[in-house]
């Protein structure tokens, strides 16, 4: 087990390292050159700024030294400053990370609260009309991209006068009720798509376990149907559901970019987009690295959790 953990952690570290290397190379392919990418047009007016950057990133030294300095800065969490606002990218990353974290956690909760009961219900009544309806519903939600779903939600809410804000963000510290209302639509847009996946995984997993010999045995020895369902079936059947949540982190990250833009939430996704569209490269490189690292770590967690949950898996 320890060997497995160490091995997986090693692979994850190597992957993050690889991503950082790719970003380093990409930054040097950017049109206009690295100095302009790191400082913007400001470098034209300020020789001191250029000098400072050259020193910090060792731009007059060989590429390999630059690479080392760059990795060192990234490891310390120093991603430079934004070209537009001259504010520290790291400070901004932490501030906005909270919004994205809340959005993705709440969306995951919604997906579990909707997807698991629907999946279990459909599996227990499989091939019934209810099962069919739930499955078609899941396929519909799976086919509507979150930006279409979000736009349609905004449309329904605004034309029906439901009194929900369709754009903007209210900090929890300022107004808790307003905060919940401002997060409701974004969370639903992101969560319902994943709920469809959770439902499909849960259903097929429960159906599979229902056919296992030990479940038949439990039934045959006269246990109540409810007891069999909850004590024998669910414990095994929900393992894939737990892991699918972690596997979908990549999707959550992508979805967060879109949903944050759609609902004007000040999260990491919108920060990344501002960085790319505004050619603010320090922001762009930092958000890409943080996003990739989060994704890799979540997958690592999923693998380890799976190994922990399923006693049949030994390493």
């Amino acid at each position: 087990m320890f060997r497995y953990v160490a091995q997986r952690a090693m692979t994850a570290a190597l992957t993050i390292f690889g991503v950082a290397t790719v970003v380093f190379v990409m930054m040097r392919l950017v049109p206009g050159g690295i100095i302009e990418a790191l400082s913007g047009p400001a470098s034209l007016q300020s020789p001191e700024l250029v000098e400072r950057l050259e020193e910090k990133y060792g731009l007059d030294k060989p590429l390999i030294v630059q690479y080392g300095l760059w990795l060192g800065n990234a490891l310390r969490g120093d991603f430079g400053e934004s070209l537009g606002t001259r504010s520290s990218v790291t400070t901004e990353l932490i501030r906005r990370g909270g919004v994205t974290l809340e959005l993705t956690i709440l969306a995951t909760l919604v997906s579990l609260l909707v997807g698991v009961p629907a999946g279990v219900f459909a599996a227990l009544r499989r091939f019934s009309p209810t099962d069919g309806a739930i499955r078609i519903g899941a396929l519909v939600f799976l086919s509507i991209p979150e930006f279409v779903l979000g736009t349609l939600l905004i449309y329904v809410v605004s034309t029906q006068g439901l009194g929900l804000p369709v754009s903007g963000y209210v900090a929890a510290g300022d107004d808790l009720g307003g905060h919940v209302r401002s997060m409701l639509l974004p969370v639903l847009s992101l969560g319902l798509v994943i709920a469809a996946v959770v439902m499909r995984v849960t259903r097929s997993s429960v159906v599979e376990v229902l056919g296992e010999p030990y479940v038949v045995t439990a039934r045959a020895k006269g246990l109540a149907a409810r007891s069999v369902t909850w004590r024998h079936v669910m414990r095994t059947a929900l393992i894939p559901t737990v892991t699918i949540v972690a596997i979908n982190t990549g999707y959550l990250l992508s979805g967060a970019v879109i949903v944050e833009r759609l609902f004007s939430l000040p999260g990491l996704g919108r920060y990344a987009l501002e960085g790319i569209l505004g050619r603010d490269y320090p922001i762009a490189q930092a958000t890409v690295i943080v996003g990739a690292a989060t994704f890799v770590l979540a997958n690592l967690a999923a693998d380890l959790f799976y190994a922990y949950l399923d006693p049949r898996i030994t390493y």
Partner: protein, 315 residues
């Protein structure tokens, strides 16, 4: 670990590679018998056995036809008419006018054409490159196999949107970036789909016979191996197509893809949502078209897979 994750959708193992619940023993025997006497399917018998698949196929054909011939029948998607600004749907403008007084129907047809063309080109390109890599890796084995495996692992490690941001950082927002993103994120799936069967076909007697008979590796691959893997590749192509459609429209929606005034389903939706309270048709037309197209592709893919894989069949 499937089409979904790489193509901008949540990872959903159910529809892609994992079979749903294995049927009970009796059902399985019945299925095998039924399969044995079933004559080879024609279009008509597919339509009778799977009405959902037939409706989906017709929807897709209608969308393709509209995208192909629509722009010739309709007017100029860029022509503005000051009198038609936010015009309600009428005889002259069947889907109303947008914020510049352009015909929403004409823009929808042109946008559908752009979106479908991009999705088809990207998916085909990815299928050709990915299948080639998979064939070569499976057939050659050894170091080549290892190298291709590492390459696909690295590509898999990137969530689609992060890849898109990275590509946009270097290439700038635009059509090239979209195609590069979609192809890079879906190549690994095709490579995996192609590699597995290649490995098993390589060891079959007819493949060995062909080799002994002096056939070149290329001939063995294309005459003997490729025909054996066309079906999984085609199914994967269907899912990749819907993933590409989502990815294209999502990126254009974010402003990273097709640039205005050129329409695509994503950029139309982004335009339309700004004015959805004044003129809901500018938003609803692309939103519903997009959802219908993606749903049709997914349903058709599911039906085709159920038809081919007896484990997924119900009756």
């Amino acid at each position: 670990m499937t089409a979904g994750k790489a193509a901008g959708r949540p990872a959903d193992p159910i529809a892609r590679d994992a079979p749903a619940a294995p049927p009970t023993g009796r059902r399985r025997t019945l299925q095998l018998e039924e399969r044995a006497v079933r004559p080879r399917g024609s279009v008509w018998s597919f339509a009778r056995r799977s009405p959902i698949g037939a409706v989906s196929a017709l929807t897709l054909l209608a969308a393709l036809a509209a995208a192909l011939i629509g722009p010739w029948l309709g007017g100029d998607p860029l022509a503005t008419d000051p009198l038609a600004v936010f015009a309600s749907p009428s005889a002259e403008y069947p889907m109303g006018g947008d914020y510049l007084g352009r015909s929403v129907l004409d823009r929808l047809l042109a946008g559908l054409r752009v979106s479908l063309a991009l999705a088809v080109v990207a998916a085909l390109l990815s299928a050709v490159i990915g299948a080639f890599l998979g064939l070569v890796a499976g057939y050659a084995g050894g170091g080549v196999d290892e190298a291709v495996g590492r390459l696909t692992d690295v590509l898999f490690a990137f969530p689609t949107l992060l890849l898109a941001l990275l590509v946009a950082m270097v290439l700038g927002p635009g059509i090239t970036g979209i195609i590069v993103t979609i192809v890079a994120s879906t190549i690994p799936i095709f490579a995996r789909v192609a590699r597995g069967p290649t490995l098993s076909v390589r060891g079959t007697e007819y493949a060995i016979a062909a080799r002994v008979g002096g056939a070149s590796p290329a001939r063995v691959l294309f005459r003997h191996v490729l025909p054996n893997i066309t079906t999984p590749l085609l199914i994967q192509l269907a899912f990749t197509l819907s993933g590409a459609l989502i990815a294209e429209s999502g990126l254009s929606f974010l402003g990273l893809g097709v640039q205005p005034p050129r329409p695509s389903l994503g950029s139309l939706l982004n335009d339309g949502r700004t004015y959805m309270e004044l003129a809901p048709w500018t938003m609803l037309a692309p939103a519903l078209t997009l959802a219908a197209a993606i749903l049709a592709i997914n349903l058709l893919g599911d039906e085709l897979q159920a038809l081919i894989d007896p484990r997924l069949r119900r009756r």
